[in-house]
């Protein structure tokens, strides 16, 4: 048995052990034992994924009695990359959950579901046939659903989120299943090698592509299938949100890549354009909603939609460019999309874990009631800050490298040797650049708001004022997350070269590692070397800092009382900017898209109506797609459901009669 096969088998064994220990361990030991075993599962997955990413082959063959291709788990390089990403997030989440879980989050059910979820996520990228892919997909979905429902008894919103999540994931599963069914019917086999034989231009491939886009797009939180995101990610326990947003969503991306790169490469041009449209719309809509949200976890959830939109934008651009033989730019765009997925896993899981730390310390996730946590929770603040930089795509973090590379490929991709490659590309690329520019600006605003309102200024509520730093293991996990964000940002070259190996036939022509871990795109002629940038900025900054320090030493600090504070000396926390007021201009600008509902109540003093006693402002931004698209459909289903209730009235005799009549009809039809 090869190393990869042994790794996969070990993971399955550890998963079974973790489930058993969750069932049998005493409540006081459950979290510790579960956390340690889940960490081991994730570490095994990390090593296995790395092995596959570096080009090792082999796998785990599972013979079955059914008349189809045997189940084979053997990750290729791309699968290895995603195993690596998923298990990396798994390590952070497992370490974190060891000390963060309490109450219903640490229940027996939750700890049984956790290893199931982790192993399921690992197996999806390892699958090499549609049956084991779907099986692993369902294991993953099942595990995450149970984890989400951990707290359903005490909060009604969790139950509602659970229903949305189940419905949407089953919808995704249905589309994926249908997609595989179409391909399998056309190719006569279920293994990916068989499915690859299909001509990408054939009608079966086109139908399957649309089905897969709907299915994987739903998992990857793309508009308009994202409606579960703002409900589910905020309501799940924070470590579960981190695993969902950091890892599970990547499996949706992997699905997209599987279809567009591995199963049906070189599809027609409209595939690329469709993916770019969906991706661009998701990016814009996601970041708009995130920028006006004052709930920290809703903000992070919508920002996930934005990032996945950008990933798919890159994927679509690469497909479009490849169709016009602009291979270097196409490879660069694809590598950028993958790097964005990797870096999103790092920063978004850190952000969700940070949000979890805030909730752990204050019990609040409403930004309007937070503030001043920077001084009280320094490690959390530092980790959240670094991850926010990553999410806002600021240099020396991972997000910047990915967006830089994506922009390079989009800007230079439309032209090859000075000539326009095609009309479609020359229209699509500048539009995509505009989308990314707007997204990047709004993302900066969003994360300045998230970090600034939560960690800076003065506490806006009593729980925020009493916050304490979280336990050491949670700090460790946050620090590891932040370090990975920095490492991905400072050493993009080797990482990009590895990533390029997974998707490109000629990786060195697309991406090379240069200088001190810098990255170069030979086909485009662009170079980025973050460490050199840091060194150069340090060379500029050090003399300035030194002179400031020296001058500060020379003139000792004087404490001065304001002779006349102008009101500033008596400023109360309530006078500060809140998340809502910070985003208010944005709400105004994008009023037509966001359609906020605002309610202002003014109470006058009894004696005079010229004096105001208090003003109460309530603003609610609802998801337009949910209210305009899903509500009518749901209402229709509800009406249909009431009618159907007569047919399915709960009588077992009636159900049995249905199957009997069906059997008779089948018999009569076959004998005709």
């Amino acid at each position: 048995m090869t190393g990869i096969g042994a790794g996969l088998l070990l993971q399955l064994g550890l998963g079974a052990l973790a489930v058993t220990s969750a069932l049998l361990a005493a409540p006081s030991l459950r979290s510790r034992a579960g956390g340690i075993l889940c960490t081991l599962i994730a570490v095994t997955g990390f090593v296995t994924g790395l092995d596959a990413l570096l080009g090792a082959t082999g796998g785990l063959l599972i013979p079955i009695a059914l008349p189809m291709d045997p189940l084979l788990l053997a990750p290729d390089r791309l699968g290895g990359l995603f195993m690596l990403v998923v298990s990396g997030v798994g390590i952070l989440v497992s370490l974190y959950s060891m000390s963060s879980t309490r109450g219903p989050d640490a229940s027996r059910t939750a700890w049984v579901a956790m290893p199931v979820f982790l192993v399921g996520m690992q197996l999806v990228p390892a699958a090499t046939d549609s049956v084991s892919f779907l099986l692993a997909w369902e294991i993953m979905t099942l595990g995450s659903t149970v984890l989400l429902l951990a707290d359903h008894a005490s909060r009604a919103t969790v139950a509602s989120a659970g229903i949305w999540y189940s419905a949407m994931s089953q919808l995704s599963f249905f589309f994926i299943l249908a997609g595989f069914a179409v391909l399998a019917a056309a190719s006569g086999g279920t293994s990916f090698t068989n499915l690859q034989a299909i001509e990408p231009g054939s009608w079966a491939a086109n139908v399957a592509f649309v089905l897969f886009l709907l299915g994987f797009g739903g998992k990857a939180e793309l508009v308009p299938l994202h409606v579960w995101v703002p409900r589910v990610l905020p309501e799940a326990p924070s470590h579960v949100s981190a695993a969902m947003s950091g890892a599970m969503v990547k499996i949706g991306v992997y699905g997209g890549l599987l279809v567009c790169v591995r199963l049906l490469p070189d599809g027609p041009a409209w595939w690329g354009i469709a993916i770019m449209l969906v991706g661009g719309a998701s990016a814009l809509y996601g970041i708009l909603q995130a920028s006006v949200s004052s709930d920290l976890k809703v903000l992070l959830a919508y920002s996930t939609t934005e990032n996945m939109g950008l990933v798919f934008l890159g994927l679509g651009a690469s497909m479009l460019l490849r169709g016009y033989d602009a291979t270097a730019a196409a490879d660069a765009a694809l590598v950028a999309a993958l790097l964005l997925a990797v870096s999103h896993a790092a920063f978004k899981s850190t952000l969700f874990l940070g949000a979890g730390a805030i909730i752990h310390a204050t019990g609040e996730r409403n930004l309007d009631r937070l503030g001043g946590l920077g001084a009280r929770m320094p490690v959390t603040a530092a980790a959240f800050g670094i991850a926010s930089l990553g999410a806002a795509a600021i240099p020396i973090t991972s997000g910047f490298v990915a967006e830089w590379m994506l922009l390079q490929s989009l800007i230079h991709g439309g032209r090859q040797g000075g000539a326009v490659v095609s009309v479609a590309a020359s229209v699509a690329m500048p539009l995509a650049v505009a989308v990314i520019a707007l997204t990047a600006g709004l993302a900066l605003l969003t994360f300045v708001k998230a970090y600034g309102i939560a960690f800076l200024a003065r506490p806006r509520s009593a729980p925020a004022a009493d916050a304490r730093e979280v336990p050491p293991l949670m700090q460790l996990s946050l620090a590891l997350g932040a370090l990975s964000v920095l490492a991905l940002g400072l050493l993009p070259g080797p990482i990009a070269a590895l990533v390029a190996n997974t998707v490109s036939s000629n990786p060195t022509a697309a991406v090379q590692s240069v200088g001190l871990g810098g990255v170069s795109l030979p086909g485009i002629g662009a170079v980025l070397d973050p460490i050199m940038l840091v060194v150069l900025s340090a060379l500029v900054a050090i003399p300035v800092v030194v002179s400031i320090v020296v001058s500060a030493r020379r003139h000792p600090h004087r404490t001065v009382d304001l002779p006349w504070g102008g009101g500033g000396s008596r400023a109360r926390p309530r006078m500060q900017y809140t998340a809502t007021s910070y985003a208010e201009p944005l709400v105004r600008v994008f009023d037509d898209v966001l359609k906020p509902s605002r309610d202002v109540q003014v109470t006058h003093v009894a004696e005079s109506r010229y004096l105001v006693e208090k003003v109460r402002v309530e603003q609610h931004v609802s998801d337009v797609i949910e209210t305009r698209l899903y509500r009518p459909v749901l209402n229709l289903f509800q009406r249909y459901g009431i009618v159907v209730r007569h047919v399915a009235n709960g009588s077992i005799h009636r159900y049995l009669s249905y199957s009997f009549v069906a059997l008779l009809i089948v018999l009569i039809v076959v004998s005709l």
Partner: protein, 219 residues
């Protein structure tokens, strides 16, 4: 000697199977149904033994003994394991009246003959000619399942359905390996035991086993 009797023996056994099935639909008393089920088990075991002797397979004779002990003795005993007095009182009030039910049995038997002859062909062998009986038993079992109100009468329908499947298996392919047969028999026994306990619990909890009244779902 045996060869001359063989077709008649097959005909006799399968005829007994069909007759017991039809009688089960006709009779309403639970005790009578259980006795018919036992008789059917014996007939099935006899059928298997006849096939085994005709084909010279000693394994099939072993299987027939197994069937005799499980379907002829074990299952009926489990079902009737209660004071005879109380079980005699249990009268089924089915959703179909006897005449309609017997008519349905006739139609189902005809249908199964039509289906088997049109789809699979009856073949030349005696067993092949008798194969539609198995399908008819499955369909009649299903009819019992949907027309009986009590859980235990439904259980009998389920066992009839299972007997039908076994009959088809023996008539068309000379049975399944003994290990598989053993496993399936044990499975059925287990299911019946569980359902029996379940019906008992239903009776103590709700005062009856009429499945009609179990419409509402409770947390």
């Amino acid at each position: 000697m045996f060869e001359t009797f063989y077709p008649q023996l097959i005909g006799f056994c399968t005829g007994a199977l069909l007759l017991t099935s039809a009688l089960m639909v006709w009779r309403h008393s639970l005790l009578a149904s259980i006795r018919l089920l036992a008789l059917q088990g014996v007939a099935l075991a006899a059928l298997v033994a006849v096939i085994g002797i005709a084909e010279g397979e000693s394994e099939l004779v072993l299987v027939s003994l197994l069937i005799l002990s499980v379907k002829g003795v074990g299952l009926p005993w489990v079902l009737a394991h209660q004071s005879k007095a109380s079980i005699k009182q249990i009268q089924e009030s089915p959703r179909l009246n006897p005449t309609a039910a017997l008519l349905a049995v006739t139609l189902l038997t005809i249908l199964s003959y039509v289906v088997v002859s049109r789809v699979f062909g009856l073949g030349d062998s005696e067993t092949g000619h008798a194969a539609p009986i198995g399908l008819a038993m499955v369909l009649i079992g299903f009819l019992l399942l949907i027309s009986r109100r009590r859980a235990r009468s439904q259980l009998i329908g389920f066992l009839l359905l299972d007997n039908g499947i076994a009959t088809i298996a023996f008539l068309t392919s000379g049975g399944v390996p003994i290990l598989l047969e053993f496993a399936v028999s044990l499975d059925v026994l287990l299911v019946v035991l569980i359902l029996h306990v379940f019906a008992g619990r239903m009776r103590t909890k709700f005062g009856g086993t009429a499945v009609d009244q179990l419409r509402e779902l409770h947390d």
